[in-house]
Amino acid sequence: MRIWLIAAASSLALLTQPAVSQTYPSKPIHMLVPYAPGGVTDIAARIVGAKLTEAWGQQVVVENRPGGNGFIGMSAGAKGAPDGYTLTMATIGDVSINPVLFKEMPYNMERDFTSVGLVSDIPLVLAANSETPYKSVADVIAAAKAQPGRISVGSPGSGTINQIVIEWIGLETGTKFQHIPFKGGAPSAAAVAGGTIPLGVLASSSVAPHVKSGKIRVLAVTGAKPSKFNPQWPTLQSQGVKEVDASQWTLLLAPKGTPKAIVEKINTELVKILNMPDVKERFAAGGAETSPSTPAELDARMKTATAAFGNIVKRANIKPN
C-alpha cells in the first residue's frame, strides 16, 4: 500500500515537474551566504542575485548567516525546502575542506545538497615580502629544508584552503613550514607587506595592492594553470612543486531533492549571467574569474578536491579539535 502511494506520488511529481519549472520562480528566492556581508562570497551572491532578479522579475534576497566556519549558513541551506526557493552560495572550504577536517559535521554534502554550478575562481599565490631574500620558489624550499618548521608562512586563517596549500607544498617537497594564521585576507597580506612575516599563501586579490606598491613579490600561483589576469606569474608546478593545484572557488548549491528541471533552469540562467561582460568585470575587480559550469562538472571538481584535501589533512596531521 505504502509503496503504491509513494509510486503514485513520485509519478505525479514527475508529471508535474515540467509545470513546476515553467512557473518557477513564482515567489522570492532566498540565497543564503554562510559568511558576513562584504566578503568575496557575499559579493558573488549579491552580483548574481541582482542579475537573477532582473532576469526573472522575482526578488532574490541575499541572507547572510555567518558563523562557525560556515556551519550555520550551510546547515540552514541543507534544511531548506527542496523547491528551488532556498539556494546557498558556498565556498571550497564549505564543500571540500570542512568535511575532511571536522569529525562532527552538521551537514553532509552527499546527503543534503545538489550542485547548481560553479560561480567564480580566485587564484592563490605564494608571496614574499620584497625585502626578504626569497626570489623564487626554489629559494623558499631551500630555506625550509635548511631549517624545517622555522620559516613562517601566513594564511588568512586555520582550516582555509590557504593553509591546505602551505601544508601541501611542504608534503610535496619534503619540508615543513611554520603556519601563521591571521584573521582574514587583508590582515595577512598587510603582515607580509609590513615584514611581520616573510611569506604568505594569499588570494591574488589580497596581494594586488601591495604588489603594485612594491612591498610584496609574487613567487608563484598555486593553480595548475596561470592566472588569466597575471599570466606572467609562474605556477608552482612549473617551479618544481608537483601536484599542487588549488584555488579559492565559489559555487551555488540547492537542497538535495530539488527537482532537476529547476536546477537546470537556475544553472542555465547562472551560466548566462556569468558570461555577461559586466558581470565578468565586476568579478574581475575582486580578483575573481567567473567560471560557469554544469552541475556535473561541479560535482566532479568537488569530488577531486575533497579526495586530495582529505589526503593532505591526514598526512600533514591537521586537526582542528
Binding site: 587583508a186 598587510a190 607587506a193
Partner: protein, 499 residues
C-alpha cells in the same frame, strides 16, 4: 600646499548636488539605525550594497561612509537615554551619560556628544587629509608584539573604569576575557567552550552581552524600585549644553580627539580602545576631579569625541591597506571592489576624486549630522516623559530585535536571556560591568597577538621588550598599574591603622 589644493578638489567633488544628496541620505539613515538599539550600520549597508552597483564609486562610498559615522552619532543616544550601548564604543558613554539623563541632564549629555563628535570629526578629517600615507606606514609596521602590549595597557586601563574595588574590577576583566574566549580559536582553529553548538562557534555576541549587562539589567533594577515614576528625576531641564558646559569640556574634547585620531589608525582594535582610553585619561587628569561615574559631562564629551575621531581615522587603514577595522568597513571594501577599486596605497594617487571626495564629504557630513542631531535632542528628551511602565516593554522589544538582527540568529536571543540572569547576580554583588566588557573585547585579541608573536619568534618572550613601541606600552602599563594601586594601598593602610 598640495594638500590644500587636494582638499579644495575634494570639496568640488563632495559639493556636487548628487554627492550632497547621497551624503545626506547616508547621514540620515546612519542616525536612524544608530538610534535603534542593536541595529548596527552593517545590516543597512549590506542592504544598500546592490543599490550602489549603479552609482559611481565616489557617491557610493560617500553614502556608505555617511551611514557609518552617522551611526556613531546616533549610537550614543540610546546609551545616554536608556543605558543601552548599541556598540562597543558606546559602553563608556553609558557610565556618565545615563547618570546625567537620570538627573534631568539628558539634553546637555546628548548635546555635548553631538558637539564633541562634530569637533572631533572635523579635526580627524584634517588628520586623514594631511597624514594618511605616513600613518598607513605606522599601521603596517604595528606587529603582533606591539598589539599585544597595547592590549595589556588597555586591559589595565579598564580597571580605571570602575568606581569601587580595584581587585573586583580586575577580576571582572578576567571574567570578561574568559567569556571572550568562547568560540573558534584563531591560532589553532580549535573550538573552545562551545558545547558542540554551531551557534557558539563564533563566540558570544557583543551586542547580547552589552544589552544584558547594561540595558536589560538596568530595566530590571528600575522595576525593583517601588516608585517607578522617578526613574528619570527632574525630567525637564535645559535642552542644550550651556556655554559653561562647553567650556568645561573643551580640553576633554581635544584630548579625546587626539587619542581617537591616533588609535583609529590601528586596524586591530585601535578604534575600539579609543573611547575607553579617553575616558580613562579624563578620569585621571581632569581638574577638578569631580564625580566621574555619577554624571560628569566630561565623561561623555571625551569618549564621544575619541570615538568619532577614531571612526574617521580608521578610514586610513581601510583605504590604504584594505584592512577593515569593523564589519561595516569590510562592507565598504566590498562596495569598492564591486566598483573595480582595490583598496591600497595607490587609491590616493590613482583615484584622487574618490579619496579627496570622501575626505571632504566627511566634513560636509559631520556638519549635516550636527544640524540634524541638535534639534532631535528635544524629541529624545521628551521621549523620557513617557511613563516608565510603557517605556520598558519597548526597550525589551528593541533589544530583542536588535540582538536578532546582528546575525539573524534566534540563538542570540537565548544568549541575551541567559546573560541577563548572570548579569543580575553579579550586579547585585556590586561587580561592575564596564571592566568585564573591555576584557571581553580586548582579551581574545591579546591572546591572539601574543600567540602569534610567540609563533613567529619561536617562543622568545623578550620580543615584547626588544621592540621599542611594545616596550613603551608595557612601561606605560606598569606606571598605570602603580598609579591605580597606590591610592588603594594607602587607603587600606589607613583602614588598618584605624582598627
Amino acid at each position: 600646499m598640495q594638500t590644500l589644493d587636494n582638499l579644495l578638489f575634494g570639496l568640488e567633488v563632495a559639493l556636487t548636488l548628487q554627492n550632497i544628496a547621497y551624503c545626506f541620505i547616508g547621514c540620515l539613515l546612519g542616525t536612524l539605525v544608530g538610534v535603534l538599539p542593536g541595529i548596527g550600520p552593517v545590516a543597512t549597508v549590506a542592504m544598500l550594497l546592490p543599490f550602489t552597483f549603479n552609482l559611481g564609486p565616489a557617491p557610493a562610498l560617500i553614502m556608505l561612509a555617511g551611514i557609518y559615522y552617522g551611526a556613531q552619532y546616533g549610537g550614543s543616544t540610546t546609551a545616554i537615554l536608556v543605558n543601552i550601548p548599541g556598540e562597543s564604543s558606546a559602553v563608556v558613554t553609558t557610565l556618565d551619560g545615563h547618570q546625567m539623563a537620570r538627573k534631568g541632564r539628558a539634553g546637555p549629555a546628548l548635546g555635548i556628544a553631538a558637539i564633541g563628535s562634530f569637533v572631533a570629526g572635523c579635526i580627524a578629517t584634517l588628520v586623514v587629509a594631511f597624514f594618511a600615507p605616513p600613518l598607513a606606514e605606522v599601521a603596517i609596521k604595528f606587529g603582533p608584539p606591539e598589539y599585544f602590549s597595547l592590549m595589556v595597557f588597555g586591559l589595565i586601563a579598564a580597571v580605571v573604569l570602575a568606581r569601587g574595588s580595584v581587585i573586583k574590577a580586575i577580576a571582572m576583566v578576567c571574567v570578561g576575557i574568559l567569556l571572550g574566549l568562547v568560540g573558534t580559536d584563531v591560532n589553532s582553529g580549535v573550538i573552545r567552550y562551545a558545547f558542540n553548538l554551531p551557534e557558539l562557534m563564533d563566540g558570544i555576541g557583543f551586542v547580547a552581552l552589552a544589552m544584558a549587562f547594561f540595558g536589560i539589567t538596568d530595566v530590571v533594577a528600575n522595576l525593583e524600585e517601588t516608585d517607578q515614576g522617578d526613574v528619570y528625576k527632574e525630567r525637564l531641564g535645559s535642552v542644550l549644553p550651556t556655554l559653561q558646559d562647553i567650556r568645561t569640556c573643551f580640553w576633554s574634547i581635544m584630548r579625546g580627539t587626539s587619542l581617537g585620531s591616533l588609535l583609529g589608525i590601528l586596524p586591530g582594535g585601535g578604534a575600539l580602545l579609543a573611547s575607553f582610553a579617553a575616558y580613562m585619561v579624563e578620569k585621571k587628569i581632569a581638574k577638578p576631579p569631580r564625580n566621574f561615574g555619577e554624571g560628569d559631562i566630561r565623561g561623555v564629551a571625551a569618549p564621544e569625541s575619541a570615538n568619532n575621531a577614531g571612526a574617521q581615522t580608521s578610514f586610513i587603514p581601510m583605504l590604504t591597506l584594505g584592512i577593515p577595522s569593523n564589519p561595516t568597513m569590510a562592507l565598504m571594501i566590498g562596495a569598492l571592489m564591486i566598483q573595480g577599486i582595490q583598496p591600497g596605497p595607490q587609491v590616493m594617487t590613482e583615484r584622487p576624486e574618490l579619496f579627496w571626495g570622501l575626505v571632504a564629504s566627511m566634513w560636509v557630513g559631520n556638519l549635516m549630522l550636527l544640524v540634524l542631531n541638535l534639534p532631535l535632542i528635544g524629541v529624545w528628551v521628551r521621549l523620557l516623559a513617557v511613563p516608565y511602565r510603557l517605556l520598558f516593554p519597548a526597550i525589551f522589544v528593541f533589544c530583542c530585535i536588535g540582538v536578532y538582527t546582528v546575525d539573524n540568529k534566534v540563538f542570540d536571543i537565548y544568549v541575551l536571556a541567559a546573560l541577563t540572569g548572570v548579569a543580575y547576580v553579579l550586579l547585585k554583588l556590586d561587580c561592575e560591568p564596564a571592566p568585564l566588557i573591555l576584557g571581553f573585547i580586548l582579551g581574545p585579541m591579546m591572546e591572539e597577538q601574543m600567540r602569534r608573536a610567540m609563533m613567529i619568534n619561536f617562543g622568545d618572550i623578550t620580543v615584547f621588550v626588544r621592540h621599542p613601541v611594545s616596550a613603551l606600552f608595557l612601561a606605560a602599563a606598569a606606571i598605570l598599574m602603580l598609579l591605580i594601586a597606590l591610592p588603594s594601598l594607602r587607603a587600606k593602610r589607613e583602614v588598618a591603622l584605624q582598627e
